[in-house]
Symmetry: C2
């Protein structure tokens, strides 16, 4: 049904016109001898093409730098022209009121060194010879790329970044920024990336470069003059790349084994197939050849292969020793090119260095490309991390009694891991009460965002299996409150607690609490109550435990018990506790556990 006010036949006036941005091209100010590269070679002149959105504020501390991926460019958001049908490549999350809010931040994105979209690269003219560089362009690195970005920002009057953000090879640049220029960066978001490429990813790049180099039209990189381009080689390199950017599942749902309907069309060869995936790959390859330069592809893909923070600094932990920013790392569940395990290695190294690190996994079937697709979750996480407003007070629902008891068991100014943190209420309160630092762990993405909004580093991890990634002694204390009874392997988790820190506080519901005992004894059914609110078949509390059982476990495994707090909110329970019947009167308990002293 049409609404009353709409008149037929009258063309609708668009309510918003396109926001137009301009690609700026500037000459970078370099020393007289040229820009020194990591290889020791010099580039006599460097041009940089960039776009900028929003305004730099008075205090000049609201700049965000966007690092683009392998084949991206400076056009990150908005439109370059009224006639454009597609906006910039990250437009859904950059703009007024969007997660990277241009009303709030000054956002800059430049084409990388070695590229073919306005910044100096193999297709540029060498001022020393007056000829196009071709394969005589020096080999460049991520370090060089970031150096050029930093010089550009300084030239634009930006003394430091509020945040640097990048996905894939852009994430490598963001990591390089954070370790090479620690005083320049306050926050760093690294998405679907790694501190170095896996051998599998290397292998695909290696074959891709061979494609281009074996194309007779490549002519050792001097094809510009001949007005040819190694189209077939570059197309196949892109096709291989494209397969790695998708997941097997996303290819299943995109194409399956569907055949083209037009079966009459002439096959390019006897061995071609009619599968849609074949025409899709050919289409993607041909489209890419029109927009990208083969030499730039060689330089940039090799640059990505050679990036290696582990090798450069000696170890992953050493690489992040001097960084000062708060990190947010985001992996993609179906990304096999930059798998989650590689991101978690960085998380682990940052924890070892007692840095601020947040992490979540983007659940998506879209593979590596998800960082250009799944904007809802990505945007929510990025926004929570960027806008860490000061959080003012705890919600009413919070159990302040337990908070106070736990606070009494924690030393001032220590470094704490809260396993099963929820939205970080306890950590927030402890930070206010005891000036602690630390990290929250929870499995729920929304809770991770709540923590980040409170300015708390938060890691999305399964307490059951994920604690292994945390190095020994990474914390002074671990909180495991109301979580242990939900774990398959409670003993393993307790052992993890006193491996990660010298002491921990474990809180759990006491199944020997007198109303529970009566219920099973008299009624022959498992108790359902306020503190055990589930049915037997759906309870997450899979390992019921009593205070006596817990003590027994600690005794058997040489775990030292410090203070114990017995909690009951019921008068009769309190009386039982007062008379020493703690296992009968406690609804729950908080137990401080420590490693056995090796000297005793």
């Amino acid at each position: 049904m049409m609404s009353a006010g709409v008149r037929r036949g009258v063309p609708r006036i668009p309510t918003m016109s396109k926001t137009i941005t301009t690609l700026h091209v500037v000459d970078l100010q370099v020393p007289a001898e040229g820009l020194r590269l990591a290889s020791g070679e010099y580039l006599p002149a460097v041009q940089v093409a960039y776009e900028a959105y929003g305004e730099l504020n008075q205090t000049r501390d609201n700049a965000i730098y966007i690092c683009h991926a392998l084949t991206g460019d400076a056009h990150a958001a908005f439109y370059n022209d009224e006639s454009d049908t597609e906006p910039g490549w990250w437009d859904p999350i950059i703009g007024p009121g969007k997660p990277i809010d241009t009303d709030r931040y000054f956002v800059v994105c430049a084409n990388i060194l070695g590229g073919c979209k306005g910044t100096t690269g193999p297709g540029s003219t060498d001022p020393r010879t007056g000829k196009l560089y071709g394969a005589d362009f020096p080999l460049v690195t991520i370090k060089d790329v970031v150096n050029v970005q930093k010089r550009l920002l300084e030239q634009l009057g930006v003394p430091g970044l509020y945040c640097v953000i990048g996905g894939s090879m852009g994430g490598m640049q963001a990591l390089e920024w954070s370790v090479a220029h620690p005083d320049f960066v306050r926050k760093c978001i690294c998405i679907a990336s790694a501190a170095n490429l896996s051998p599998q990813a290397l292998a695909f790049d290696i074959v891709g470069r061979q494609e281009i180099e074996s194309d007779p039209d490549w002519r050792d990189g001097r094809y510009y003059e001949k007005d040819t381009t190694p189209a077939k080689g570059l197309s196949r390199a892109r096709q291989i790349g494209h397969i790695t950017y998708l997941s097997s599942k996303s290819m299943n749902s995109k194409f399956g084994r569907e055949q083209k309907e037009d079966t009459e069309s002439i096959q390019p060869s006897k061995f071609s197939t009619n599968f849609q995936v074949e025409s899709y790959l050919n289409y993607q390859g041909n489209k890419f050849v029109k927009r990208f330069d083969a030499n730039s592809y060689l330089y940039i893909s090799r640059m990505m292969d050679m990036f290696d923070l582990v090798n450069e600094y000696g170890s992953m932990a050493a690489a992040f020793e001097r960084s000062k920013c708060h990190y947010l790392l985001i992996s993609i569940s179906s990304d096999w090119l930059f798998p989650m395990a590689q991101m978690l290695e960085i998380v682990s190294a940052l924890i070892e260095n007692r840095k601020e690190v947040s992490y979540f996994q983007l659940n998506s079937q879209s593979g590596h490309d998800a960082f250009l697709i799944e904007y809802d979750v990505l945007g929510k996480g990025v926004e929570a991390f960027l806008h860490d407003e000061v959080f003012e007070r705890l919600p009413e629902s919070v159990n302040r009694m337990d908070f106070d008891l736990i606070s009494g068991m924690i030393d001032d100014g220590t470094h704490i891991l809260d396993v099963g943190s929820g939205g970080g209420e306890l950590m927030w309160a402890l930070r206010a009460m005891k000036q602690i630092s630390g990290i929250c762990i929870d499995l729920d993405f929304d809770k991770i965002c709540e923590c980040m909004h409170k300015g708390l580093p938060a890691i999305q991890l399964d307490a059951e299996t994920g604690l292994e990634l945390i190095p020994d002694d990474a914390f002074d204390g671990v909180l495991l409150n109301q979580t242990i009874q939900q774990l398959r392997s409670a003993l393993q988790s307790i052992k993890q607690v006193i491996r990660i820190a010298a002491a921990g506080v474990v809180g759990f519901p006491n199944f020997a609490y007198y109303p529970y005992r009566f219920e099973l004894f008299l009624k022959g059914q498992l108790p359902v109550s306020r503190s055990l609110p589930y049915e037997w078949y759906n309870t997450p509390n899979i390992h019921l435990v009593t205070i006596k059982d817990f003590r027994e476990l600690c005794r058997r495994h040489d775990i030292v018990i410090g203070e114990i707090e017995y909690v009951s909110e019921n008068l009769f329970g309190k009386i039982l506790i007062a008379f020493g019947f703690v296992n009968l009167g406690s609804e729950r308990s908080l137990v401080k556990i420590c490693r056995p002293n090796p000297n005793t």
Copy 2:
């Protein structure tokens, strides 16, 4: 330390000399008009190269056919020459006393149609023209390949196969055998394969063929006459293939990001790297070019892409409707080219058709190639499946009381699924007592082998998540004995039971049994006993349940309860049950559950 009897300096005499086999080449007997192919074209003459080991027995029912993969050949085992350093490609599992026991079976393996190792292919001479076929060789299919194999076997006097076995593209041939020639095959083993290739795997093949076709030395397939070969293209196609045969983890452990030590060697180009993975890929590519023909690669890889039982028969279930053999499907945990999910789709279709199907997963980090590496587990599984000796009697440890009670709840001749079957003792007894058929499910590989040794189809599956793959009403009854209390989601599993079959028998320990109640009530600790032998923190019994709780659950979710058996092995318990105190007196219980009758 040297042992006393060994004299220095005296060369050791090898205790066993190599077993030598011969490659036989025979002319296939074809009709005068030639061999009709699936495409409708004819091949005027077909030569087949094969090897055979062992002896065909008197009853001619001990023949096993081995199907080789994409680039394999007829030389499956032993040595062709005393000077050979490497035996045939599957030698570790074929031979006297090995899983495919040549003392017991007559084993045949032939090079496939379209190949380049002795069987007719694009490198053969077309008798009609006297010229080499090249790309004029007709397109062939897996169906044609299997037809040639069947004609060969008939020519060798083999009237039927005890088993057909293959991995990867060999697994496709095994599946084709089983559905196209159901009366010829008694058993079928399909390893790391699929009923059709995933779009991701297709995509890699598509790029691989383009490599060869774009190589100027391919010359539209007529390179034989010019004495050239499309070496670069074939090498890159192989390199891409090779990456897909490994897993990311195996590449990590094989190469990591190690660089060649010899850094002085001249790089083939500015854009090459020193990574070991680059020289490994080049080595593999060059080695392959020496042993394989580019045209054969085109024909065979396209044949693999076009194989599609789902498309041919209309659906996966329809494809397996007429098959008669007992299947063993084996997937590899780290295989991303032929992922587990594709194998499980076949398992599901076979279950739907009430066929005999066994399945297990080979846990390996070696990727797709694991079927050529992990011989211990593979061999054990294959042997258990092949040697299903008649099993004579149950071990003494078996609880015959429960068997008898369950037997009383099952109808004669029905089709039963036993979830959490262990080594199949219950199913074996039920088959003997009640002539049932059915399938065992267990998570433990060794238990799966025990079942297969008893001739029972057995599937390695997690009862928690795996039941979803079983189609509705695939069975007449489901047994879920002593398993439900170990599942995270007991309700979901019960719902699965009455989805899969109209009725099921659920057996569980009763937590309201009087000694347990007393222990918690009086001692304030969780009970540990003969039937609950675990501590609270390590028990697999994560959802404690009482008979009353179980009844209540069924009532709430409209699950109809049939018979209930109350079991106690203790006199006082028996007395309590006799007086009607079943929830107090039963140590465990067996409950028959059914779907609600829709008419009432």
